[in-house]
Structure formats: structure tokens, C-alpha cells
Amino acid sequence: MTKAIKALAKRRTLFAVVLALTIFGTVYGFAASLNVGANALSAGNAAVASCQASGTPTGTYALTYDSTIPGYKVTGVTVTGMDPGCNGKTVSVTLTGAANASLASGSAVYSSAGASTTVAIGALSANPNATSLTGVSVAVNG
């Protein structure tokens, strides 16, 4: 009789443990699947390198007379002093005026072919009055 009771108690304990693990696993499994499906997260870090190891990119400007001003407007920018290490990178230029407001912008891909250290940006988003130009921003990206 005692043996039978012991065996029954053992089976009940075993059943309880299995049931608990099953429920835990099921719930935890659902939560994990939900996290991956709805809230996928991957993270990492990387340094942002600069290709402009030497030299100072400097903007020079193409001027065109405009009778509606009347006067000269900026129709292009040539950036000199490019580092050949930036070959193939995109050079973006923004011309700014009062309160650093953007007056025009444009971009071009720099090529170091022929030992060139310049890149010409002939198409600007606008052609501002040359007298309005107070600043220039240059970014090399790629």
C-alpha cells in the first residue's frame, strides 16, 4: 500500500514538472517569436572615416551676368584641393547667405584621373546673386 502511494506521488510530481515546463516553454516561445517578428533589433558600431587626409577643399565660383538682377549670379562652383583619396566620392556643395540660409546646392563625383584635385559642380539648384553669397559648405561622401 505504501509503495503504491509512493509511486502515485512520484508520477504526480513528474506530471507536474512536465506540465510546468511545457507551459513555460510555450509562453516563452510565443514571446520570443513575437519579439523577433515585430521588434527585430540588430545593433553595431563602425567608425566614419574621412578620405580627405590632406589639403583643404576650397570653392571657387563661376559668375554669369543676369540682366534681371542686374549683376552677376553664381552658376557653378569648382572645388579645388581635393585629396586623391576621395576619388569616386560625391562632393556636395551648399552656398549660403544671410543667417546661413541655403541659397543653392549641387553635387558631383570627384575623379582623381590625371592627378586632378578639382571637381566642378556646374548644375546648381538655383543661381543666387553673387552679392548674396556669404558662406559655403562642402561635404565629401561615399
Binding site: L21, A49, S50, C51, Y65, S67, Y72, A130
Partner: protein, 130 residues
């Protein structure tokens, strides 16, 4: 191994699997290069300029001379446009600023065509760095 041991082992394995699945993945990240900067656009000190023109016997402009340019503009490029009625361009050209002493000068002898001196009502100037 007892049934209880096997069951516990399996449960732990299942739990470990779910825990590993739930962990955030570490993403290998790269970056393209980026350089950026801003600066002011300096002027070389010109507040006003005065041009003198030379006219031939036909009444056409043969030369435009500009003097009194600040020495800070030495080596830069002076663009001049001869304008007429309604500020329309009659012709123009550019020259390198030089001949500096106390001040510098520049002169143009080509305007992209014949320009009648009588039609010129205004000069427009622009100076850009070399």
C-alpha cells in the same frame, strides 16, 4: 537516467533555445567615408569700382580699364559686363587682376563682339578667386 532527469534535461534545453532566440542579434556595421566643413566666402575688399573705356573712330569700345582695385584682389579674376537698355548685356569678358602697387588694375580688350560705346549705360563687375 531517471525519467525525471530526462524530463528536466529536455526542459532546460528547450528553455535555453528560446533564450538564445530571444537575444538581440549583433549586427556587423560598416560606414562609407564622410568629410564635411563650412567656411565663409571672403571678399577682397572691393566696395566700388570705376571703369574707363577706350573708343575707336567707329564709336565702338576697344578697351575697358579698371583701376583702384585693392591689393587683396591680386591674382583674382575680374569679370566685366557692358550693359545697355533694360540692363541687357552688350558684351563682356574677364581679366586677371594685376599691376599692383598701392592698388591693382585690370583691363579687357575683348567683349565677345562689337559693342557700341553709345549703347553702354552701365558696367557690372564680379571678382572671383583664382
Amino acid at each position: 537516467m531517471s525519467i525525471l532527469g530526462k524530463t528536466l534535461g529536455s526542459g532546460l534545453a528547450v528553455a535555453a533555445t528560446f533564450a538564445a532566440t530571444a537575444a538581440a542579434a549583433t549586427l556587423a556595421v560598416g560606414s562609407t567615408s564622410l568629410s564635411a566643413g563650412s567656411t565663409s566666402v571672403p571678399a577682397c575688399g572691393i566696395s566700388s569700382l570705376t571703369a574707363t573705356r577706350t573708343v575707336d573712330n567707329s564709336g565702338n569700345v576697344t578697351r575697358v580699364s579698371v583701376a583702384g582695385i585693392p591689393t587683396a584682389c591680386s591674382g583674382e579674376t575680374l569679370s566685366v559686363t557692358l550693359a545697355g537698355a533694360a540692363n541687357a548685356s552688350l558684351g563682356g569678358g574677364s581679366a586677371t587682376i594685376g599691376g599692383c602697387a598701392a592698388t591693382c588694375s585690370a583691363s579687357l580688350a575683348s567683349f565677345g563682339g562689337t559693342v557700341s560705346a553709345a549703347s553702354v549705360t552701365k558696367y557690372s563687375f564680379g571678382v572671383t578667386g583664382a
